[in-house]
Symmetry: C2
Subunit: 258 residues, 2 copies
């Protein structure tokens, strides 16, 4: 059944008509050729997620009514923001798409020192828009109830300021992998509580510069390995998100039942 | 420092000269422009992994001597084989590359019923070769000590026969995610012992066919979800491998120290 992440709903969404237009109208009517009586999943990014039925279709709008709330959550219990040193080519699109499937709450493109790629001011808005569209589509296709937010590009100072807003911050650092570090990620994930926020920082292909790592450490944040193997810039965030899901949705979920 | 995965060594590798030729000679001499006295990591797929120093270079060969064994393992303690229903485009290359970074022991292309892609007999050998090359390069770049093996394409009957050789088999099944299944993966991973082998089966974009899933279940194998979100064909294997690493290298590793 098709899913759509829609603009924020009012508290009476269960009893009032829901009217969708523009891209939603186009996709439902012209792409999916849907008819009154057919059902879709709607989610509005606040955690509201439900089955809705099409009641009427006009030239520009689709009217729907609430049928039943979705009984399970497909969102991670913690908000994980992925900050990536700008990688080459289309890797950031890959990270946003697959990171969204894996549950990321937000993405921050980071103008890291060793990044070969630079975002000029006029390019930035366009790139951010394109990535946001990728996040939305990936969220809908992976049955998520929230669409991750793609931040504008941050420099180091801005990223450090942003980091202060999170419950926890981790910096994925290659040298830790080489040194055999293996307990910090587990330690942090085991202590995360539902509703916490974690900022995970990744370098570009050239890695984080020593002064960037030092700045994070000086601010009191830890670095960690993601296992003993060296992961590419576009693979590391996927490991981190999978580890969070495994720890917090499968292991802790199992603890609740077992 | 550069890494190479080389043909199997004899037991006296620590005392006898090591001679490399062909692609190794070309890469060391013509690409990396290495000289006698310089060092590289060598690994031979059996678990032997060490620092070696170049002693001499000729027109066709490079001579090296052992310097010191590598003191840590970058291999997963269990052998994970990833069987993928043939996905579209270059997704299998992605899966092999990133699956190798994440520690997979082997890959089995699976001619699943819903696969849009088919491998003809004459194409198969070429594709297998190309994927093997990708696995080798990814193994070297991620600092692995073994190069994963890319099997020839298997049909369902062949894959079921192959499955019988593993300590455990798991089938990633989308419907389990939708049904909220959340404990089987943890249960299996918690019980894995170092040296065990696990075959993980993934469907193509269209998912596994009901009769394929039934065949695995009939053979006594379980299916499981990978968290509540629906993952793409090329993302699911990366989640699985990350979960194995997190459970067996980080969590159990931490238990040993803590």
């Amino acid at each position: 059944m098709q899913r759509y992440i829609i603009p924020p709903l009012t508290k009476d969404y269960q009893t009032q008509p829901i009217i969708l237009s523009d891209d939603f109208h186009h996709h439902m009517v012209h792409v999916m050729r849907m008819k009154p009586g057919e059902q879709v999943y709607l989610a509005d990014n606040s955690g509201i997620s439900f089955v809705a039925e099409i009641t009427d279709i006009s030239a520009n709008t689709v009217g729907l009514k609430w049928v039943a709330d979705e009984d399970r959550s497909t969102e991670l219990p913690v908000e994980i923001t992925i900050a990536c040193g700008l990688p080459k080519g289309d890797k950031l699109e890959y990270i946003v798409q697959k990171g969204t499937e894996l549950g990321a709450a937000a993405f921050i493109p980071f103008a890291a020192k060793n990044a070969v790629v630079k975002w000029t001011a006029d390019k930035s808005a366009k790139k951010q828009q394109r990535l946001q569209k990728i996040a939305k589509e990936a969220a809908e296709q992976s049955h998520r109830q929230k669409e991750p937010f793609v931040h504008p590009v941050h420099n180091l100072k801005e990223l450090l300021a942003e980091a202060a807003k999170y419950s926890k911050v981790l910096v994925a650092y290659e040298e830790d992998a080489k040194a055999g570090e293996g307990s910090i990620l587990v330690d942090i994930l085991e202590k995360l509580e539902p509703g916490d926020s974690l900022l995970f920082v990744f370098g570009p292909e050239g890695g984080l510069a020593p002064e960037e790592l030092a700045a994070f450490r000086q601010a009191g944040h830890k670095s960690c390995a993601l296992g003993p193997r060296i992961l590419r810039a576009e693979t590391a965030p996927l490991y981190a998100l999978s580890a969070v899901s495994y720890e917090m949705e499968l292991r802790k979920g199992a603890d609740k039942h077992g």
